[in-house]
């Protein structure tokens, strides 16, 4: 074995992020000290980012099975059957740390990475979504990060040519030093043509395709697993630059090659590049691989095996092709002007052997690397919870003027119109976007069934209310699932399966670990109850700067199916005279609400929990109504409560007012107007359909209360027969539509 580079010892291992006991485990496993190249390879494979060492014991409790599931966690993305021989392939992934250091490139390469995870499985990406978390709008870096991230997400997806159909943007102090950039991608495949990351077939050649390897991002994976400390901004690693054009060529070439029978296995080079790719492909297949690095296309001169194995240059794929078919593959790549080379072959040794010019630089058992480490880290319920769970409403003054308060709420950074963001994303390319961002809480893309021409729809909901998770990690995570479920049924989609991206602080702190464990328990329970198994996901830990962690943010991406896109409903009121009703509970709670935060600066109280028994009836009613095509509009009531929801329904394409009359309440007016709770919807329908709507609700055992009619140029609210509020549409539009531009 060639020993080039610095001498390997426990100290050097520590610099690579391996704790001393981890280094010992490595030496014991190998029966010797590792070479420098081996140390590099192992350190990335055993990093939190690649090995999930702190999270794995918890993740394995998540439900991942169901008749609809074709491929669960373990592959590059999850695969779910949508009938007619078609499948959707999807996953969500974080790119938080790189985006904080270089927002444009960090976000762009995040989108690039998740798209590769999807098309690597044989699916053509047909929809993107992005969930973004920034610090306070007044924080000095927020505007810079926001501009860079949004441009980066947009430019990459736009150029690559996939519509970005939904997502969310939230501002909160806890993200001041750690923004979140979570990107979701969904692709469409034939259910019997799914490709997997397997290096099988002894003697089969291994092909490298795509961008040349440079020195960029070396140690990116270990960086993503380390807490930021003051001063680390100075030690910025080389930034990875995204090349969406190259990725588009890769996509087309790979899909073309997948039409043939040349391909045995394929995987994108994501975090930890060639290393994780070759190790994972060998480990899954139970085979081995031998690489000869001198054949890797290089961007720079004099690159060492260490650098080649650890580079995170973007837009690269590794694939195994049937022996004798390599020319067919190379021809396809040259048609698309892509660099490709045979860089090794499959063995049955169970080892990853790295050679350069005939010399061995690494000789490692694939299983040792892939299984990695596993910790059940100590947990402890954090004490802040004792403080925040109680809310004394007597200390909260009721608003004098509901109208003024509504305007203030509509202009709140977390509630206002986000067109500034999504208009920078092409949300219509590929002639399939049925519901665009801003039209409903879910995005919907059309999927045509090739034989019959039947037009199905796939709906995507993505987001998370981290405040709820902060106040109660278990219940808050259940609520996040229920909320995604509500988003889907509101457009008429039957929820199928889930992906997640679990963003938390430092897992070595028992309090954070407890939040994580509780959250995973909540996600699992809710997904089990709702039959939306988790088929893929990602964990991002160490979102913490100078000891301050983000609010625990288990981002949820949920996918649903619509049998016929003509059934789809959107949020906006459509016609004068339509009836407006609330489906589900009328009132909510101010505990943990956006109202309490925005108007009173408080984040406390316990949110109303998700209750399967009660809330699933509401979901069922919602689906039955859309299926029966009796609704003109539907929108779930989430942050901002009933009144913000109705205001948004007014401010749609048709721009219609509404006359509301609510029963006199015993409780507080602000609770009625702005309170929050799960499984509540605002629906509208024609007079003719009123009976059918009521029947559907009653049939499912869900409550439905008519609260008004669509019409006029203002939003009027009577409570118990008295006029409580009257706002012109223009005033609401001004508050809602003008806010983002003002603080961005």
């Amino acid at each position: 074995m060639i020993q080039h580079g610095p001498t390997v010892d426990a100290n050097l291992a520590k610099e690579h992020g391996l704790a001393s006991d981890e280094y010992k485990t490595l030496c014991d496993g190998l029966g010797r000290a590792p070479s420098y190249t081996e140390l590099g390879v192992v350190s990335v494979m055993w990093s939190e980012h690649c090995s999930y060492k702190s999270s794995r014991v918890h993740l394995k409790t998540l439900p991942s099975d169901g008749p609809q599931v074709i491929e669960g966690p373990g592959e590059n993305a999850g695969v779910v059957d949508i009938g007619d021989g078609q499948a959707v392939v999807f996953k969500m992934e974080s790119h938080n740390h790189p985006s904080f250091l270089e927002p444009y490139q960090g976000a762009a390469t995040g989108v690039g990475g998740i798209c590769r995870d999807v098309f690597t499985m044989g699916a053509r990406p047909i929809a993107l979504a992005d969930c973004l978390r920034f610090g306070n709008t007044g924080h000095e870096r927020t505007s810079y990060l926001l501009h860079g991230v949004v441009a980066g997400v947009g430019d990459y997806g736009n150029c690559f040519g996939v519509p970005n159909v939904t997502g969310d943007v939230v501002f909160d102090d806890s993200y001041n030093g750690n923004i979140l950039v979570n990107a979701f991608c969904l692709g469409l495949a034939k259910s019997d043509r799914i490709f997997r990351g397997y290096a099988s077939g002894v003697g089969n050649p291994i092909l490298y395709v795509g961008a040349k390897t440079g020195r960029d991002g070396i140690h990116g994976a270990t960086m993503a697993s380390a807490e930021f400390a003051e001063g680390s901004e100075e030690k910025r690693p080389a930034v990875q630059v995204g090349d969406p054009f190259m990725e588009k060529l890769l996509l087309e070439a790979c899909l073309e090659l997948m039409e043939s029978d040349a391909l045995v296995g394929i995987q994108d080079m994501g975090a930890a590049g060639l290393t994780s790719c070759s190790v994972e492909m060998a480990a899954r297949a139970g085979s081995g691989v031998e690489l000869h690095l001198e054949s890797v296309p290089m961007r720079e001169e004099g690159m060492t095996p260490y650098e080649l194995m650890l580079s995170e240059s973007q837009e690269r794929m590794l694939m195994v092709v049937t022996k004798g078919k390599e020319q067919e593959a190379l021809d396809t790549f040259s048609k698309w002007d892509l660099d490709a080379a045979v860089v090794g072959h499959v063995t049955d040794s169970g080892k990853v052997i790295v050679k350069m010019h005939g010399e061995v630089y690494a000789d490692l058992p694939a299983s040792l690397l892939a299984e990695g480490l596993k910790y059940d880290r100590p947990q402890e319920r954090p004490s802040y919870l004792d403080e925040v769970i109680s809310l004394d409403l007597d200390t909260i003054a009721e608003p004098d003027d509901i109208g003024e308060t509504l305007l203030d709420m509509l202009a709140a950074p977390n509630l206002c119109d986000k067109s500034w963001v999504f208009q920078q994303y092409d949300h219509m390319v590929r002639h399939g976007t049925v519901v665009r961002p801003g039209q409903a809480s879910s995005g919907v893309v059309r999927v045509v069934e090739p034989e019959s021409g039947r037009k199905k729809g796939v709906a995507i909901a993505a987001g998370c209310n981290a405040r709820h998770v902060y106040l109660d990690p278990y219940e808050g995570s259940r609520l996040a699932v229920a909320s995604a479920y509500a988003d889907l049924v509101a457009v008429g989609a039957k929820p199928l399966a889930t992906t997640d991206c679990l963003n938390f602080g430092n897992p070595e702190k028992p309090g954070t670990m407890w939040q994580f464990a509780e959250s995973v328990r909540g996600l699992g329970d809710a997904c089990r109850l709702l039959n939306t198994p988790i088929v893929s996901g990602n964990v991002s830990l160490y979102n913490e700067t100078d000891g301050v962690a983000i609010k625990p943010t288990p981002m949820i991406g949920m996918v649903g199916l619509i049998d016929d896109i003509d059934e789809v409903v959107t949020a906006s009121f459509k016609e004068e005279g339509h009836h407006i009703a609330v489906l589900g509970a009328l009132g909510g709670t101010l505990s943990g609400s956006e109202f309490l935060k925005h108007c009173h600066g408080q984040e406390r109280g316990v949110p109303i929990p998700f209750e399967m028994e009660r809330h699933s009836k509401v979901f069922a009613a919602m689906l039955e109504m859309t299926k029966a095509r009796v609704l003109a509009s539907a929108e779930d009531i989430s942050d901002g409560g009933l009144l913000c929801c109705i205001a948004e329904c007014c401010l749609g394409a048709q721009n219609l007012g509404a006359q509301l009359s609510l029963p006199a309440v015993e409780g507080r007016l602000d609770e009625l107007c702005f309170g929050e709770g799960p499984a509540r919807f605002v629906v509208s329908y024609s007079k003719e359909n009123a009976a059918a709507v009521a029947r559907a609700a009653a049939g499912c055992g869900a409550s439905l209360l008519e609260v008004g009619v669509v019409g006029g140029r203002e939003l009027r609210l009577n409570i118990g027969g008295e006029l409580s509020m009257k706002l012109p549409l223009a005033a609401m539009a001004g508050a809602f539509g003008g806010a983002f531009e003002a603080f961005s």
Partner: protein, 240 residues
């Protein structure tokens, strides 16, 4: 009568399938057909019309459309234009036709410096072209835009105006040409133009995205451009 359209695919074209879908599926009952033409070909083959689709040919690197304008197939596209064949360049296609010299002027970075994707209105005017002559002059229609470099510039725009070569102009929902209705800063609110002989048309809005109302409820006014082309081909006699 069957009318066959070629849709040119450059590396980085994204709206090629969208355009093909319009001719092959949405307009199939009108006798339209289409095929993809690969940029490395030297001939456009037997087609009655050409669509240069949107997307990011060559990543839009250097300038949008600049590299695609030099693709092997472009010589044949130029010959097709010279012979009077109808050509429409949509978004990136418009940028490519400008860079290739088939249309005048240049498309530069949006004044807001941001990519912008939304529905706009534009008014149809100017001389009759194959892609607009069935739409009554002065009518305004709704179509999406999705571009970062759509700000039209021309050193002598008055000449184009004088020759009635402005075919599409951004306007508001009521048809008024106002600066508020101009999404990207284009001179004189120009959204699309034609060449001196009128057979080559380029525009930034995406008519192919406004052909089926089910897609975002944005309307289907864009269909008018393609129907117009089918009619004008039918009237111009035999297929090429």
């Amino acid at each position: 009568m069957a009318r066959h359209f070629g849709v040119i695919r450059f590396p980085g074209s994204n709206c090629d399938d969208d355009a093909l879908h319009i001719v092959n599926t949405v307009l199939a009952d009108r006798g339209a057909t289409g095929e993809i033409l690969w940029h490395k070909e030297h001939s456009v083959g037997q087609v009655d019309g050409l669509i240069v689709p949107g997307g990011f040919s060559y990543g839009d690197y250097l300038r949008a459309g600049a590299i695609a304008a030099h693709a092997p197939i472009m010589e044949s596209v130029k010959a097709f234009a010279k012979a009077g064949g109808p050509i429409i360049g949509i978004c990136n296609g418009f940028q490519i036709l400008c860079e290739a010299g088939l249309l005048e002027g240049a498309l530069t970075r949006n004044e807001s410096l941001r990519f912008i994707c939304k529905d706009i209105y534009c008014r149809i005017e100017g001389r009759p072209t194959p892609f607009s002559k069935d739409i009554p002059a002065g009518r305004h229609i709704r179509m999406p835009i999705a571009h970062a470099e759509g700000c039209y510039r021309h050193p002598d725009v008055e000449r184009l105006e004088g020759e009635s070569q402005i075919i599409f102009r951004y306007c508001d929902a009521d048809g008024n040409v106002t600066s508020d209705a101009n999404p990207n800063g284009s001179i004189n609110n120009i959204a699309g133009i034609c060449n001196a002989s009128g057979n080559v048309v380029g525009l930034m809005p995406h008519p192919e995205r406004a052909c089926e109302d089910v897609l975002g409820k944005g309307g289907s006014a864009g269909l008018g451009l393609f129907e117009s082309a089918l009619d004008s081909l039918a009237n111009s006699g035999a297929a090429r």
